[in-house]
């Protein structure tokens, strides 16, 4: 614990040093940049925002010595305040100015900054004037100042952190790999440790820091064994480093539990992340030195990567766990604030919201600030969805309406999707109040991988020997949605005992056909089974409307004789266009209007239907809709828009179908008569 307190002090100092470094434009630029990326990764972003602003002010002041002075804060063309930090962040994420321009993503940047497409030009200009130079300076200083090899390491590290993909799995794989390769005898022990860590990751989604700590310790344990075996300077130093990180996490979690004050918490968190970062650096430097000393030991290079990976994971986990814990506490504070404000809108204690330019002077834990962030994030999410949807329409892709999530505006539904769907999107949404960058969406994986056999893991390790490959695999197309697991989702399937459980023989269905009561061979028609429509008939005008109607009636009659009572049980008496005979023209017109009026609002249909047709039963309405309304629409489409037949689209051409124009245009006056009389004819024949 002593080492930890030392580290804390160091990190506190370091924080001050960072700002000083910047002001003095020292070589430590790379460190600074590193901290930028690293911190921004968690929700300390707002804190970072303050830091960034300081740096920017200083930087611009220095620059202005030889150039003109740039005013702050920055307003864009339409007098909207530009969030420089966000702008910088977004562009950095897109790969810098050049990359953004090349990919023509300035519109996206403007949107991301909440300025809309109109501000594309000014956003670009502002970036060039204010931030481009800073960006160059940061990245250049970074690569200039450090030895190439080291820079590469850091670069990888930064990349890794930015992706946020590093999770316990990788450590586990690495550890397992090392074990399999070198410490076969200790394989089982190590597996226990990794198993433990796996389990804890699985269950730690509730942000249990202790468990995360446990897991990271577990994986370090696994690593340690190998290190003890190999008995190497490098290894012992790496081990120390990892232990330090662990101590830190440990201390942090203890601190966390006894500390209720949010602000202090965030302070500590930041400290921890900074010191953890420092530790990593130390580790890398150590490793680097040793590597230079003993270049012939390829084995060391291998393990250095290993240590790096696990350290990185440990730190990531710290960040991760903190993220969750913090999120929950600040979220509840925010929610209660919103609730309170909604209840007592004129309460003086709420006060006025300060101008956004002054926001940075307020703590980032202010509930109103979080509420605004949450709102912002929600809006962004919906925009993104809108975009997705429109692109679908362009592609003429069809899908369930449930995909149109932006329809779901009420809070409950959103919450619903949040807890049930496990969409990456949903995850983002839930932590959006902390303004996480989108690449943080993938948190700790939900699935346990307990089933991996030793052979399999070996296989995996062989595949994953390249570190970049691991990145690739873990980042490879996150699933759109994952399978939900838990007692709320799976069916209870009893073990197979080999004994057949007798199912209730009562429910075998009621036999309808062949009729049970008719023992002798029923009078079948003469048609053979599977007979199609005859090619020719004896009608005077084969194929005309009357001919077809006659054959339909003929067929219907035949069926009726065959089926007997079944004909009615299967509701064949309510099928076909004859259903319309029991409807008056007035009612038919009303029905058509109703469909048209209700086509947009799915759920109001039935209540309206009962209001308009109080005396008509549901059966009749539905029957009319399917047997008459749709058939007529279909007929109309067949003749008027034969290339675009879709009788299922209720919004289309509703006004035209069956009305005086549409109907008369289709049918010659005489041909309408058989429609009405056909049924009677049929009845007479019967």
């Amino acid at each position: 614990m002593e080492g930890w307190s030392n580290l804390r002090d160091e990190s506190g100092l370091r924080e001050v040093k960072i700002i000083q470094d910047c002001e003095r434009k020292k070589e430590a630029a790379s460190d600074h940049d590193f901290s930028l990326v690293e911190c921004g990764f968690d929700e300390c972003k707002n804190r970072l925002r303050g830091l960034f602003n300081d740096v920017l002010v200083n930087f611009l002041r220095e620059r202005s010595v030889n150039k003109c002075i740039r005013p702050l804060p920055v307003l864009c063309a339409n007098d909207e305040l530009v969030d420089l930090f966000k702008l910088f962040w977004v562009v950095r994420k897109l790969g810098g100015y050049d990359s953004t321009s090349r990919k023509n993503l300035w519109g996206f940047v403007a949107e991301e900054c909440g300025l809309g497409f109109g501000a594309v030009a000014s956003v670009k200009l502002i970036y060039v004037k204010y931030l481009n130079e800073l960006d160059h300076w940061l990245w250049q200083g970074y690569s200039d100042s450090i030895e190439d090899r080291f820079a590469k390491n850091l670069d990888e590290l930064v990349d890794e952190l930015r992706k946020g993909s590093a999770d316990l799995m990788e450590v586990q794989r690495k550890v397992e790999k090392e074990d399999v390769k070198r410490v076969k005898s200790k394989f089982d022990k190590s597996r226990n440790a990794t198993d433990r860590s796996k389990r804890s990751v699985h269950y730690s989604s509730g942000a249990n820091i202790n468990e995360v700590h446990d897991s990271s310790e577990g994986c370090v344990d696994g690593g340690e064994k190998f290190y003890l075996d190999s008995d190497n300077d490098l290894v012992s130093s790496a081990k120390q480093v990892i232990q330090k990180v662990i101590k830190e996490v440990n201390g942090f979690s203890k601190e966390k539990t006894c500390d209720d004050d949010n602000k202090t918490c965030s302070q500590n968190e930041n400290d921890v992340s900074l010191s953890a970062e420092k530790v990593i650096e130390k580790a890398i430097i150590n490793l680097h030195d040793i590597k230079v000393d003993t270049p012939e030991q390829g084995f060391d290079v291998q393990s250095s990567g290993n240590v790096m990976l696990s350290t990185r994971n440990a730190v990531d986990k710290v960040v991760d766990s903190r993220k969750r814990k913090r999120e929950s506490s600040s979220l509840s504070a925010m929610l209660s604030w919103v609730k309170n404000t909604a209840k007592h809108p004129d309460d003086l204690s709420i006060g006025r919201l300060p101008e956004c330019s002054k926001w940075k002077h307020h703590g980032n834990q202010e509930p109103w600030f979080l509420a605004l962030l949450a709102r912002e994030a929600r809006l962004i999410k919906r925009d993104a969805n809108l975009k997705v949807e429109s692109s679908f329409q362009q592609k003429k892709l069809r899908m369930h309406p449930s995909m149109y999530e932006e329809d779901v505006l009420n809070h409950q539904s959103v919450e619903k999707s949040r807890c049930s769907q496990r969409l990456p999107v949903a995850k983002c949404q839930s932590c959006s109040c902390c303004n996480l960058p989108p690449h943080c969406k993938i948190a700790v994986p939900q699935k346990t991988e307990q089933g991996y056999s030793a052979k399999e893991s070996l296989l995996l390790n062989v595949e994953d020997s390249d570190r970049n490959k691991i990145d690739h695999i873990s980042m490879d197309d996150p699933p759109e949605r994952e399978v939900c697991v838990g007692p709320e989702f799976q069916a209870e399937v009893p073990e197979w005992t080999g004994v057949i459980v007798e199912s209730d023989p009562k429910w075998l269905g009621k036999q309808m056909w062949p009729p049970e009561d008719v023992k002798d061979e029923p009078v079948f028609g003469l048609d053979r089974i599977g007979k199609g429509r005859p090619n020719a008939c004896d009608c005077p005008f084969p194929g005309n409307v009357e001919c077809i109607r006659f054959h339909i009636a003929e067929k219907r009659l035949k069926l009726k004789r065959e089926l007997g009572l079944l004909f009615y049980k299967w509701r064949f008496d309510h099928m076909g266009e004859e259903v319309s005979l029991s409807w008056t023209a007035e009612h038919e017109r009303k029905f058509k209007d109703m469909i048209r009026l209700n086509s947009a609002s799915t759920n109001k249909f039935w209540s309206n239907a009962f209001r308009i047709f109080p005396s008509t039963t549901r059966d009749k309405l539905v029957s009319y809709y399917f047997n008459v309304f749709l058939v007529r629409r279909r007929s109309y489409q067949n003749r008027v828009t034969p290339k675009d037949v879709d009788s299922d689209d209720d919004e289309r051409e509703c006004g035209l179908i069956g009305d005086s124009f549409g109907y008369k245009a289709i049918y010659v006056p005489e041909s309408r008569l058989p429609i009405c009389f056909e049924n009677k004819q049929c009845a007479e024949l019967d």
């Binding site: 709320e488 069916a491 209730d504 599977g530 077809i548 759920n603």
Partner: protein, 430 residues
């Protein structure tokens, strides 16, 4: 080969007479049209038709949570505004609206699948058909994707009372997520789903990497496909994977969900399958001669749904249906040419050979793990089926005829049959 199988077909005259609401793509009336077409083709003479019982809430609660079932039972369009929280909790509303007679509708289609499973269990038939069933998205505690009660899960649970292992196959264009999820932890049910995946296509699950967990690991197979897959690639992939699955898993019964939205021209689908291609899958599964439960599923261009399912009923009865649809009350829906075949789709096939190859490799690779899995008691239930090899065209059909000696067909073979209805040649076409 003529039908020696005993076919039970389930239909209730009330099932088609519900209305999800304007513009809702799900039109249960397609079931009426299907039934009508089946009768128009005189197919009822070769099978037994049953009216299913209406499943009791307690039966539905075999899988679903009791509170969800209770709520479905209680809710009506006139009272739904009183329960906004519950509606959200159970995902009712947008996709899954509350309509008149909702619960009765669920009872009928679920009852059909349960009864079908009962009949299979009691060896009263070899194939049971319930076109009203197959609502594969419904979850244990919520509705999803037009599905309220997951009849497939209930049917499979019933089949599990008699069979150590049940194979579930899903050729709906959407992923069979409800069934997969329900049996994600068990090796007693293997779920295989062929579906469109990606581009946020509903329901979003069904990646090839979803393979099950715990005991169920490697017992969920997903075949994610892209837009516009055609008959050739689909049936080839289907046959390769399914034959390997059956050979490896040795199921005691098969449940086949025949969602017709994988057909070309479906309102919500994006595949290019013809009815022939779709039915080819049914024909192939039938050839395993295992107890087979056939259900419907999706299908949102209702004329095509009726065509497809009527044709597949014919396939199951070994009756090739002529292309000219016989006159019936709904003939107008089949305008303008009144034929059974549907025009091919025009969606570009985005499934490259290499993509399909990768998927196939992935699936077969995962299948290898279950061959040595100790969890499945492969030995306890000897395979009670005949495994046809779809590649061996030279298979002598006469030999196969001998396999079904316990034939109890409804109708004598020598009646109503002309030589041209003999379907032997179709077997060779494969």
């Amino acid at each position: 080969m003529r039908s020696k199988d005993r076919i039970s077909y389930f239909y209730d005259g009330d099932v088609g007479n519900v209305y999800f609401g304007p513009n809702h793509p799900m039109k249960p009336h397609r079931l009426c049209m299907t039934h009508h077409l089946v009768l128009a083709y005189q197919l009822h003479k070769k099978m037994e038709i049953y009216r299913p019982h209406k499943a009791y809430p307690v039966e539905l609660a075999q899988f679903h949570s009791a509170d969800y079932v209770e709520f479905l039972h209680r809710i009506t369009p006139s009272t739904e505004h009183l329960f906004p929280n519950e509606l959200a909790k159970y995902n009712l509303g947008e996709d899954c609206p509350v309509f008149e007679n909702l619960f009765e509708f669920c009872q009928i289609y679920a009852g059909g699948t349960i009864d079908a499973a009962h009949r299979l269990n009691n060896e009263l038939c070899d194939i049971a058909i319930n076109w009203a069933g197959g609502l594969h998205h419904a979850k244990k505690c919520e509705a999803s994707g037009f599905c309220y009660i997951n009849d497939l899960v209930l049917g499979i649970l019933e089949l599990l009372k008699h069979h150590a292992r049940v194979l579930y196959i899903d050729i709906d264009v959407h992923h069979g997520d409800g069934v997969e999820e329900a049996f994600y932890f068990t090796n007693r049910v293997m779920t295989v789903s062929f579906h469109k995946y990606g581009d946020m296509f509903f329901p979003g699950t069904g990646d090839v990497k979803e393979i099950g967990e715990r005991e169920g690991k490697f017992y969920a197979i997903n075949v994610p496909l892209k837009d516009g897959i055609d008959d050739n690639s689909f049936t080839r992939l289907f046959k390769t994977i399914i034959s390997k699955v059956v050979e490896t898993y040795l199921p005691g019964a098969i449940v086949l969900q025949c969602g017709a939205d994988s057909l070309a021209g479906d309102r919500l689908g994006c595949f290019n399958l013809s009815i022939d291609g779709h039915a080819e899958c049914v024909r192939f599964v039938k050839k395993f001669n295992l107890p087979l439960l056939i259900t419907g599923g999706g299908g949102y261009t209702k004329e095509n749904v009726a065509r497809c399912w009527a044709f597949e009923t014919g396939v199951l009865l070994d009756t090739e249906l002529p292309n000219e649809i016989p006159e019936n009350d709904y003939i107008k829906f089949f305008e303008p040419d009144y034929s059974l075949k549907i025009p091919g789709g025009h969606i570009e096939n985005l499934n490259s050979k290499s993509y399909l190859g990768t998927i196939k490799m992935n699936v077969l690779e995962n299948l290898r793990y279950i061959q040595h899995a100790p969890g499945v008691q492969m030995q306890e239930v000897p395979p009670d089926f005949y495994l046809p090899d779809f590649d061996e065209d030279e298979q002598n059909p006469d030999e196969r005829m001998d396999q079904h000696t316990q034939d109890k067909q409804i109708q004598r073979d020598d009646e109503y049959y002309d030589g041209d209805n003999d379907n032997d040649h179709n077997m060779e076409d494969m």
